[in-house]
Symmetry: C2
Subunit: 187 residues, 2 copies
């Protein structure tokens, strides 16, 4: 991928998260990225296409990062589930944390027929599915149910952290997750 294209994606992602998607014009993006609109529209057919790529990249980066963390630092399958929120905490409390793309995007584009909303919804589904696979490996019966509950805690904590940095919500999300996981494991 072109260096410039990547720069545009990185800058756009940051601006979307910190200022909102609709509030961020392409003029601002190219100014911060140090390029021009002509170049942006060479790599992206429209602003919507740019948004979709930003979302896709953000989700992919997060999933890759999380999966690497889990496979590198755990051995037993049940361990993955229990350490999940440790890594999520690491991610949320990092200074670079800017929120979860699909959460904000779905709020800014509430219409269910909007492509951006649909991608957000799909990413949320995939993340839940990923947690569910961890739960299945850990031998949990209602894996989808637990995955849904954990993803609620996750999305709630990210939401809280987006609303007020340093809220400490993730600490309590972690505690709640532990209770729910332990309960599901002993059943």
């Amino acid at each position: 991928m072109s260096l410039l294209k990547n720069k545009i994606l990185v800058v756009a992602s940051d601006l979307f998260q910190t200022r909102g998607i609709n509030s961020t014009g392409v003029d601002t993006i190219v100014a911060v990225a140090g390029t021009t609109k002509m170049t942006l529209y060479k790599y992206f057919n429209s602003k919507e296409a740019l948004i979709l790529e930003v979302l896709a990249k953000g989700h992919q980066d997060f999933q890759t990062w999380l999966n690497d963390k889990l496979t590198t630092n755990t051995r037993k399958p049940s361990e993955k589930l229990q350490k999940l929120f440790d890594f999520i905490e690491e991610w949320v409390t990092s200074p670079d944390f800017r929120g979860m793309g699909f959460i904000k995007a779905s709020a800014e584009f509430p219409n269910e027929e909007n492509p951006i909303h649909q991608l957000s919804s799909e990413q949320s589904r995939q993340f839940k599915q990923y947690i569910s696979s961890l739960a299945v490996d850990a031998g949990i019966q209602d894996a989808d149910g637990l995955a849904l509950q954990l993803s609620l805690l996750f999305e709630g904590a990210v939401q809280a952290e987006q609303m007020k940095r340093g809220s400490g919500a993730i600490k309590y999300a972690k505690k709640a997750a532990k209770i729910l996981i332990d309960g599901a494991l002993t059943n």
Copy 2:
């Protein structure tokens, strides 16, 4: 309050939730409300002032509704806490449900210095405080901690329901809430 002003508030609230705040122009609002911009700007100094009033009214209506439900249908303090998510489920699954105002608003206005963001943040804090007071009455030690966890579940479920109607997230949020509450009560 003037009938027209109320009509504008109701229409604006609905449009903000279903199409997004930034994507909804005042022209659309007055067209749907069956009035004109002159009237709108007589009752509201600016679009921002309208947004703030819509948020305030939405939060007040919800809090009033919830509090009435709880005081009418419960006797013991601990009962309130346990029935909390029953009424939240009733609210979320109602056909009129359009999401929680402050969740979407904080996503569309991420800047912490923005008045709309600040009001959203304050409303989130107040709701958490309300749950905490229920927990205190129920004799729970770490009332604030449990309240935070329950509000995470709540915001996560609302987020999930906004993203995909009929996701059933609230059912599992309810189960998770029961586990957390029971655990906190027996400590």
